[in-house]
């Protein structure tokens, strides 16, 4: 589904990602872990197509397409979803209106008729139940005055609404208490299907107690220096990142 080869990316001339390789197949959950500043969020932004980052080298193929040729909104319509680490506020725009616009843009791109008001409301009710969010939330302006937990739940709700093929969750667990974390994880697990994939970017192994990854990768200095299964996350939790750094052969 997603194939990243030898990717290098920079911001304002400063290289953040260098020589990164990653392959994600349908039905898989990948966890990307790593210390602060290792390039985790940059990787998410580059896949989503944020233009503040320059791709200097390498390729990203997604569903057989050259992803780097597509603008951010097309990538989204093609099924890439980014759950933001710091979701922004959009004052005066209700979540319902925001989602209806997004869904209908996607449908237009796919050559489908826009959802009617009634169809949209039905879908929204269904998804709200699915990810266990309060009914009132969708009447509020996007993220305006939301608590940290509400913001992250809102991201998961949007993910449920948009039914992505590839979801990237960028530190969705940060700043969450254990209950909110469970809600988020439950949402992700419910949305898991054989034909979609998820990349979970996280600092801590805590989230992985609730979302079981097929693969765990350690990102350090802009590249993946170690990959393994879920046990790698447990090991990292115990030993910290230093041992992986030491183990990593130079130049990989």
């Amino acid at each position: 589904m997603l194939n990243i080869k030898n990717l290098s990316a920079s911001i304002n001339g400063k290289t953040i990602i260098s020589g990164l390789n990653l392959e994600v197949k349908e039905g898989e959950v990948h966890a990307i872990m790593g210390p602060n500043g290792s390039g985790k969020s940059t990787l998410a932004s580059v896949i989503a197509g944020r233009e503040t980052f320059d791709v200097d080298e390498g390729t990203i193929t997604y569903m057989g397409k050259n992803l780097l040729d597509l603008p951010a909104e097309t990538r989204a319509r093609e099924g890439i979803f980014l759950g933001f680490q710091y979701p922004v506020e959009i004052p005066g725009v209700s979540i319902a209106n925001f989602m209806r616009t997004a869904i209908n843009e996607k449908r237009k791109y796919l050559g489908l008729e826009p959802l009617t008001g009634a169809e949209f409301l039905k879908l929204m009710e269904e998804k709200k139940k699915m990810v266990d969010i309060q009914s009132k939330l969708t009447n509020r302006s996007v993220n305006e005055g939301f608590s940290g937990g509400e913001k992250k739940k809102n991201e998961i709700f949007q993910m449920a609404m948009l039914e992505p093929r590839l979801a990237i969750l960028d530190e969705t667990d940060s700043g969450l208490d254990i209950d909110a974390l469970k809600v988020v994880a439950k949402g992700v697990n419910k949305l898991r299907r054989p034909d979609n994939a998820t990349i979970v970017i996280t600092h801590y192994q805590r989230l992985l107690d609730y979302i079981t990854p097929d693969f765990v990768h350690v990102l350090y200095d802009g590249r993946i220096i170690k990959s393994g299964d879920k046990n790698l996350a447990l090991e990292l939790e115990k030993k910290g990142y230093d041992w992986v750094k030491k183990e990593a052969p130079a130049g990989v």
Binding site: G49, A72, A76, R77, V88, I90, V93, T101, E105
Partner: protein, 482 residues
């Protein structure tokens, strides 16, 4: 549906059009230039009562002593008032036996203006009085209104049928001595709308008027007069569009509103005249004087405006709160893009006791445009316990546009409370990317964010107007972020 449209349009254009003074095709336009003769020509064309001609001539003589104001934060080439045409009527004789005879351009214009003269409109409770160029082409729903004693017609018609009402009220809120453009309008005004709501009547329909500038090089001098008698209520809507023009067009309208004891007038306007091309060439100059007076105790007037058009806008819908406990409201969204310039705001003059006013102004500047809020809040010595709250927000798109706020406060007594809040913000790259990542393209994202920002004001508009206004905001900002 199409047939219904045509049927209704035919009814509208075929009836009510009995004023013979412009059936002479040869003489449907005044020659360019402005002299006393021009004014006599206009007045004679319209078969006006003597007092009207006198009023025009007095205004004209006064206008000649005035200089064009220069204090607004706008720049435009000087206008040669002798080059303008001060009167023009629709070209075709509007008596039709069959819809096929209707000028297809006229039909197309109605289409473009989005005036669905169909039954949906009636269900939505909207009466339409379409002003094509300077002369009113027709009115609908007159019957419903007449049953209640509501008068809603073109200004010309009102002058024929209700001269005493015009004579009594016209110029009492905006005297011809008020300012340069008001004097000019008073001298040469072409047509406009008149609404009169009798005592105790809640107007059963939203009164809606569409203005449009049509003939090239024609100054438009509309005149609106709304009188709400004791205990009455009316919601009045005005909207306008203009097609592409090469030459600048001057528009200097006057709107006067009078609310008597316990009366309420809600005035809403969406204004999207041709703003000129990206270089700022062409486009309408909109120099308008709008003022209302809360004459009686407990009366209320609210202005809601969405301004997206005009090359240059100079407009301050104002209120005089004379009656005790009267309320004034001003809700405004002004969008400028490319090289547009807008200097707009309001004046709230508190004269009565316990008078209250609210000002919510939302400016949006994109491109290389300049958007200024200019407001005055004045409480007189007698205006005990007067209260005002003002909030002026500016939103900037890109780094070449300008937002300016000029609030003037003049507090005349110790018991009044005046509050002013102002913010300036930008659409952040984070907000745009958030929208893009959800599959909404750049223009959609800007439209969404801007509409959210302006929501407080848009929500004050009548429902169907609000929907139009939302679309308009998005369209106005197309291409504003490259």
């Amino acid at each position: 549906m199409k047939d219904d449209d045509n049927k209704i349009l035919q009814e509208v254009t075929g009836s009510d059009y009995k004023y013979g003074f412009y059936t002479d095709i040869e003489m449907d336009q005044a020659p360019p230039g402005l002299t006393e003769d021009t004014i006599r020509f206009i007045s004679a064309k319209k078969n006006e009562p003597e007092f009207m001609l006198e009023f025009r001539l007095k205004a004209f003589r006064h206008w000649q002593t005035l200089k064009e104001p220069e204090w607004a934060h706008v720049e435009y080439p000087s206008i040669n008032y002798q080059d303008l045409i001060y009167y023009s009527a629709p070209r075709k004789k509007p008596k039709y036996d069959n819809i096929d005879e209707v000028d297809p351009e006229l039909l197309e214009t109605f289409e473009k203006l989005g005036i669905p003269l169909d039954e949906q409109k009636s269900l939505a409770g909207v009466a339409v009085d379409a002003v094509m160029d300077s002369v009113s082409v027709g009115s609908t729903f007159k019957k419903t209104l007449e049953e209640q004693g509501v008068i809603f017609c073109s200004f010309s018609e009102a002058l024929q049928k209700h001269p005493e009402l015009i004579k009594k009220h016209m110029g009492t809120v905006v005297p011809y001595t008020d300012n340069f453009f008001a004097a000019l309008n008073s001298a040469v005004f072409s047509d406009g709308s008149f609404a009169y709501i009798p005592k105790g009547v809640k107007c059963p329909l939203e009164l809606s008027t569409y203005f449009r500038i049509n003939a090239a090089n024609t100054g438009q001098f509309e005149r609106t007069l709304i009188v709400a008698e004791e205990g009455s209520y009316v919601s009045y809507m005005e909207g306008c569009t203009a097609p592409i023009r090469d030459e600048n067009q001057l528009h200097a309208a006057i709107v006067e509103i009078i609310a008597h004891k316990d009366a309420e007038v809600k005035y809403s306007t969406v204004q999207n005249w041709w703003p000129g091309d990206k270089e700022g060439k062409g486009g309408v100059y909109n120099f308008v004087t709008k003022r209302g007076i809360c004459e009686g105790d407990n009366s209320k007037i609210s202005w809601t405006q969405v301004e997206t058009g005009s090359a240059v806008t100079w407009k301050y819908p104002s209120l005089i709160l004379k009656g005790d406990n009267s309320t004034g409201e001003f809700y405004s969204v002004a969008v400028t893009n490319n090289k547009q310039q807008a200097d707009t705001g309001t004046k709230m003059i508190h004269l009565g006791k316990n008078t209250r006013s609210t000002i919510i102004s939302k400016g949006i500047s994109a491109g290389q445009s300049n958007n200024s809020y200019r407001g005055l809040v004045k409480t007189s010595k007698k205006a005990e316990n007067a209260r005002n709250f003002s909030q002026c927000d500016s939103l900037l798109l890109g780094d070449q546009s300008g937002a300016h706020t000029f609030p003037y406060l003049d507090v005349g007594n110790r018991t009044s409370i005046v509050e002013h809040e102002a913010t300036t913000s930008k659409i952040s790259e984070d907000q745009l990317f958030y929208c893009l990542q959800r599959g909404i393209d750049m223009e959609g994202a800007i439209g969404l964010i801007v509409n959210g920002y302006a929501k407080e004001v848009l929500s004050k508009l009548p429902m169907e107007f609000a929907v139009e206004a939302q679309k308009l905001l998005s369209v106005s900002l197309e291409g504003s972020v490259g």
